[in-house]
Subunit: 308 residues, 2 copies
DNA sequence: TCTCTGTCTCTTATATACATAAGACAGTTG
DNA sequence: CAACTGTCTTATGTATATAAGAGACAGAGA
């Protein structure tokens, strides 16, 4: 009834760990292994047993030791290491991304359960959770409604995002010079320069860096609502980013440059400069999202970025 | 397996409806009755059947007619008209309110299910939902942690509330003169004067009016995140309001007067006045909440405001 | 004494079961 | 033919069942 994704994930992580060991080396205690794999001793234990029967480990009087180096074929497929809930989240987002749902469409949990190959329990749990993204509405005793990624949606997300990030930035610039965020910010800034210097090749690294910078700022708010909102928004951005790949390099270049102005403002603790640069950066980000929405989702069949 | 709270609620609402009818009067069609009771025809139908066997209605060739006036004893107790989920929400809030949970305490769903007399499914659904209040944190594959209504919590809620309400107010004052919100605002203002004129008796009406005013403002934002936040925050305020009854009349009087200044600012579409008055009002509201938190929850056993 | 290990108990995550509620359909009546 | 009604099908809300996973405990070895 309960999937064994935890076990499979731990199994894979254990293989990674074994890769750094030499043949015949003895393994640490189950307690230590368990905490290294971030699971309970119970799970660590069953991983040891199966690795032994797979011939990777050997068990003798002194305990488990490495028998042979792990190979690619020993791993469980990554898909199986996701819990049912996580798998539903990913599939659901992909459906939205691919335009399989239209705005206003009614979703019903039994149908979704059938199509996603899980139970209604899991679907329900996910739909309740997802409700907070603002994309789904509940009709009690009836179906759910998909509200759609529309222009309204984008306006509302960006309105909140702008308020929250400005506020967070004002917290950030009040941090003492010794706070770790300044070091992190310096690293982020350096990465911007690195990528810009080799933009033709590395422009695809922008989204991850963008996420890192904005998360640093939001985290400075130390406000659970602000941080939670950014978690949600960044998941949405992550998925919708795929919708429009026109001029990707140019857009990313422009955004990187805007970031540098923004970062300079933060480092100078100049709130006016911060507000101005952040506003113009978010305005172009919003425009990009709006354009993606106008274009609508494209079919992504075969795009490795989605399925991997 | 599924409770029949919908049926019982509809049954009670139907009794209310029948109270306005005269003996022997014929009932409307099931479709019309169903939409009046806000349920499906199926449910309306079973209400008719049971009201008939209870002797309130009579069925003959021409259909159902009123046989006798409904009495207080015909109603289902209000508790039974709440869905299991709603009942859990109320009980959970009461537990928090009464200090049955301490900050940092671990909650586990089986235990809660036992104590609340429901299934773990319902508890889980509720905990997931409640997670977004920022009061509960999830440890995957393990227990939940109650973070507590602490000073930090109050600061974070009020920080967001202030941002959201100022923004919403700026939307409100841009509404055309013909928008229905101005009429509603005028009514709210009049109610303030009414209550102030008879404050010794009516000061307890303040919380409901407070909720009405602030909701009106938040709704003007037409932003789902802002409105959803206020839904959550107002539930928290509703429950924590009970924590501190010292100087209740004085506090409410002061707040009513602050509201009037705020309302005047809104009606004059004077954003400066709005910002200033809102800020000072929210500051005193926050101070009140902070004080309640310092005092901590009191045992409310027997307080009718909670159990009714 | 400390840590490690095997065993046992209890919880969580998920699937399934099932009564209530919603809504579709078709026959009926005015 | 338009609205109303009875019947039927399907879905939701909630309880229960169960495998996977977490952690407690006590005995064993250093």
């Amino acid at each position: 009834m309960k999937g064994n994704a935890v076990y499979k994930g731990a199994y894979n992580r254990c293989l990674d760990y074994l890769a750094d060991m030499t043949i015949d080396e003895k393994l640490p205690s189950t307690s230590e292994l368990a905490s290294r794999l971030a699971v309970s001793r119970t799970t660590a234990r069953s991983v040891l047993v199966s690795l032994t029967s797979a011939g990777v480990l050997r068990l003798d009087e002194i305990g488990h030791s490495l028998q042979r180096a792990p190979e690619a074929g020993d791993y469980f497929p990554e898909k199986q290491t996701m819990s049912a809930a996580a798998a539903v989240e990913r599939r659901f987002m992909e459906w939205i991304l691919q335009g399989d749902f239209r705005a206003g469409q009614l979703l019903n949990s039994s149908e979704l359960a059938r199509q996603f190959g899980t139970s209604t329990t899991t679907i329900r749990e996910y739909l309740t959770h997802f409700h907070h993204f603002g994309l789904i509405e509940r009709r009690p005793n009836s179906a759910w409604v998909f509200r759609g990624i529309t222009a309204d949606f984008a306006e509302e997300v960006y309105e909140v995002r702008e308020m929250f990030e400005m506020r967070s930035a004002s917290h950030l610039i009040q941090m003492p010079k010794s706070a770790p965020c300044w070091r992190e910010l310096a690293e982020i800034e350096a990465q911007h320069h690195d990528i810009l210097a080799d933009i033709d090749v590395r422009y695809k690294e922008f989204p991850a860096l963008d996420e890192r910078l904005h998360r640093l700022v939001h985290d400075a708010s130390r406000n659970r609502y602000v941080i939670e909102f950014y978690n949600i928004a960044s998941a949405i951005f992550h998925y919708t980013y795929q919708w429009n790949r026109d001029d990707e390099k140019e857009r990313n270049t422009r955004a990187l440059k805007q970031h540098l102005v923004y970062i300079a403002g933060l480092r100078n603790r100049d709130m006016h400069a911060v507000n101005a640069s952040l506003k113009s950066h978010l305005d172009s980000a919003r425009t990009t999202l709006m354009k993606s929405i106008e274009l609508g989702p494209f079919k992504v069949t075969g795009t490795p970025a989605i399925t991997s």
